[in-house]
Amino acid sequence: MALRWLVRANTYHDSIKLMRISESLGAQQGVVRAAAVMGTPLNRDLLEDDGLLPPGVDVSSDDLLVTVLGEDDVAADRALARLDDLVRVRAASDYGSHLSIPHTMASVSPGGEANLAVIAVPGAFAAAEAFAALRADLHVYLFSDNVAVQDEVRLKRLAAERDLLMMGPDCGTAILGGVGLGFANRVQSGPVGIVGASGTGIQQVACLLDAVDIGIAAAIGTGGRDLSSAVGGSMTRRAVAALKTDAAVQIVVVISKPADGRAAQRLHKDLVKLRKPSVVCLLGAELEDQGTVHYAANLTDTARMVAELLGREFMAPEELPKVTGPARPDTQVYGLFAGGTLRTEAAQVLDAMGVPHTLLDLGGDEYTQGRAHPMIDPRLRAGMLTDLAARSDVGAVLLDIILGDLAHDDPAGAIAPALAEFQANVQGPVPPIYVTLVGARRDPQGLSEQHARLEAAGAHVFAANVVAAGAAGRSIGSAT
């Protein structure tokens, strides 16, 4: 074994790029393990713990740190020598050779061709870029999380003053002008306008509707905190107002994680006056239907109600697998989610059934600092799934696999080895694995191929998250 590492001072790469570099280095012949990270104290400690870095290496958070554990000196050196090829940044083709590419939204002049800023930089720098973009008269799609709530409030206030969209922070999905932003599925266009304080919530509803050929006119993400008491739903309400005047929209859908009561009330009043039917899913907030405003209990229910309002058939109930074997009251459902709303929805289903559970949202702020989102980078979840095999109280496993643009190009294939390893190593009877597969038929990964791949890996696959969660709960509580 030979360990090699190098430090490149003041060299920044985003977390996705670092993931790709790590993967490519690790795939070199004779390389046992490899990592390319920014040299933060946390990353340094992790590498030291893993034996991939000797203690005391002088590296700062602004430096690129690359380490390779090879079978021998030659393999490690050869892998490191490829680094330059791997880090090369692609040139932007839109710019002529004599023009320099702008470096910041602050350098984008108002009145140019651009009308939308897509911002996905680390959270500490995101607010400044978003403010600069709004000042440059750009609508903002802000993917970054880890943005302070007071900055979010000020960003949305500024956007309202300037009559611009402020989608985010932590906005996973949007569809504007028929184009998906962030994690978005290739759904058909149609009569439904969605406003969502939840990226995966929008994706779940849009994909369930796409499956029955109901299309989306626009999906406006607002960021997960929009209907909190601090933010007060300002972007949700402005987005609803925009959909009101949009002739293509016949039905307005609002999706959010549990909302603040007053923000929900204000939204309700707006919707009552909307003069278009609306379906609202606040996952937990119980409001009475009034006039054209309909409340849905969950995401699947939301899609079903939209279909009914349009006089269309909704999908047939998904077939549940037979529950076999004795109940395991000493176990619980373990869920590893990439989508926060899907996690919340699953928890509500299991709570209602009285089934104990440990459900993690791996797309949450605490898991994404310095790391790509689990929909892009499957490694964290794969590792955690493998580790679950050591636990004796796993009664069932719940996962979500999300297709579409920006997501991993083969998420089912990426999780399959960990599924196999979990099933091989777990003690006692193999717990059933339930997967919510969120995808549209035109998604680049191929919906049916991904479905087949997951089934081949031993998972039960569903399109509706509530059904997957219900199946997981049922498998544990079968004899009680």
Binding site: A92, S100, V121, A132, L406
Partner: protein, 469 residues
């Protein structure tokens, strides 16, 4: 609010976001985003996110740019420094760059200071001059703190003649010495008998005649000459060939018509001055610098503004002053220069960057206008395409385009002007300068020329100062 019917995205984030859009058939522009220090990012957030503070900044910056770009700078006189430079003490030497002590001064700066002491007659020998300077018997002060600018070492002593440039729009003045020409010159730290003799010749023979001609010409419009020279291949820092020719053409009639012409020595003197102008391509540099200084100074004190009003180097440190922070200097070690060397010299011989001449870039000339000067690019080690690239890059960190200084090759686009601390801080692009390279030992002179990227830290410090004021 109407939703956009189609989107034209600009991306700050991983290339996968651009790929995802491209896969849907949507082209996008992806910024070459780099993370700033978190302190800089939060200062930027403070300024951009606070409505009141932002409005104040915009108002101050707009005012600063109006002042800078509406200047009309005119050469009105040539006077002895002691008679006209404000607060120039009897035993004081002005120098380029931010404040400096003798101990910290680099080789060329020491050579120029000692040479000036000799020229003034304060010492009879160089060692004696050095002793006086070492003991602090001669006060040192930055040119910039006396409405003045000087190239390279930039030393101004009381009995040097200085060009008097008046900003007719705002009534303020700026001063600079007469350029000594090339070769062994004080500004590169040379100080032998020949150098001192040439300074005396400039003072005793050139100055009186030129003074009379300047006064007779009743004001030479430098802003206009600069605008024309940009259309003739000058960028007014490393190339002043066209501007010097335009100046010579403008002053020649007044020189010839002067009283001095009637004296027996007259024709010879006029001929000598015309020859001096003809041989000194760089003559106009000092005027371009004084004109830039005179244009920038009215914007020197506008609280809340993020516009840079001076960039300068003393051979030891690089420093800036900004509109929002007044007289305060923000400094970092002077940078090394990426350039081409004359035969026999290399980077080991080079002094760190030196001179007040970065005032030209501060005012939208020099490297900022490099696209206007394709002919100079070989001299500084580049190509015309690279020159356009530098100018283009500077548009990303400046607040405005100069309405009077335009670049034919860029469809007469105005030069980038008004370095904005906010844009520098967020883009991580520091300004570039055209520059000459001085030998690190005094007296050797110029050994090359090139482009230098100034350190970014002073801009970060200044931004944080503005944001927390």
């Amino acid at each position: 609010m109407n939703l956009p019917a189609s989107i034209q995205p600009v991306i700050a984030g991983p290339e996968e976001f651009a790929d995802a859009l491209a896969n849907q058939g949507v082209p996008s522009v992806r910024l070459a985003w780099q993370p700033p220090p978190e302190t800089v990012s939060s200062a930027a957030t403070r300024v951009l996110g606070d409505a009141r503070r932002y409005a104040a900044m915009e108002a101050a910056n707009t005012e600063a740019m109006t002042r800078i770009t509406s200047a009309r700078c005119v050469l009105v006189d040539l006077r002895m420094a002691r008679d006209i430079v404000p607060e120039l003490g009897d035993r004081m030497l002005l120098h380029a760059g931010p404040p400096l002590s003798w101990e910290a001064a680099c080789g060329p700066m020491r050579g120029a200071l000692a040479g000036a002491a000799l020229y003034e007659g304060w010492a009879r020998s160089l060692p004696e001059a050095e002793t006086l300077l070492e003991r602090g018997d001669i006060a040192l002060s930055p040119c910039h703190e006396h409405d003045a600018v000087g190239p390279m070492a930039g030393v101004i002593s009381p009995s040097m003649p200085v060009l008097v440039v008046e900003n007719k729009t705002y009534g303020n003045r700026a001063f600079s010495t007469l350029n000594e020409g090339l070769g062994k010159v004080l500004r590169y730290g040379a100080n032998d008998a020949g150098v001192i003799a040439r300074l005396r010749w400039l003072r005793d023979e050139v100055a009186p005649t030129l003074t009379a001609a300047i006064r007779r010409a009743d004001g030479l419009d430098l802003t206009s000459i600069i605008a024309q020279a940009l259309h003739m291949g000058d960028e007014l820092h490393n190339r002043n060939k066209a501007a010097t020719a335009l100046f010579t053409r403008a002053i020649a009639p007044s020189l010839a018509e002067g009283d001095i012409h009637r004296s027996p020595l007259g024709p010879r003197l006029v001929g000598a001055i015309l020859r001096y102008l003809a041989e000194t391509d760089v003559f106009f540099l000092n005027l371009a610098m004084a004109a830039s200084k005179a244009a920038l100074d009215p914007a020197a004190d506008l609280p809340g503004s993020t516009i840079v009003t001076a960039m300068s180097r003393n051979g030891t440190e690089f420093g800036i002053r900004t509109s929002g922070t007044g007289d305060r200097w923000f400094t970092a070690p002077a940078p090394a220069i990426d350039g081409l060397y004359f035969p026999g010299y290399g980077p080991d011989d080079a002094n760190p960057d030196l001179g007040d001449s970065a005032i030209t870039e501060t005012g939208g000339l020099g490297a900022f206008a490099l696209a206007a000067a394709p002919a100079i690019t070989q001299f500084i080690g580049g190509t015309p395409a690279l020159a356009r690239r530098y100018t283009d890059e500077m548009y990303g960190i400046t607040y405005a385009e100069h309405p009077r200084y335009t670049i034919p090759a860029l469809d007469f686009r105005g030069t980038p002007v008004g370095v904005d601390l906010l844009k520098v801080g967020m883009s991580r692009i520091a300004p570039v300068l055209d520059t000459g390279i001085a030998h690190k030992e005094s007296g050797v002179g110029q050994i090359g020329a090139g482009i230098v990227r100034v350190p970014i830290e002073p801009f970060d410090q200044a931004l944080m100062a503005v944001a927390s004021s």
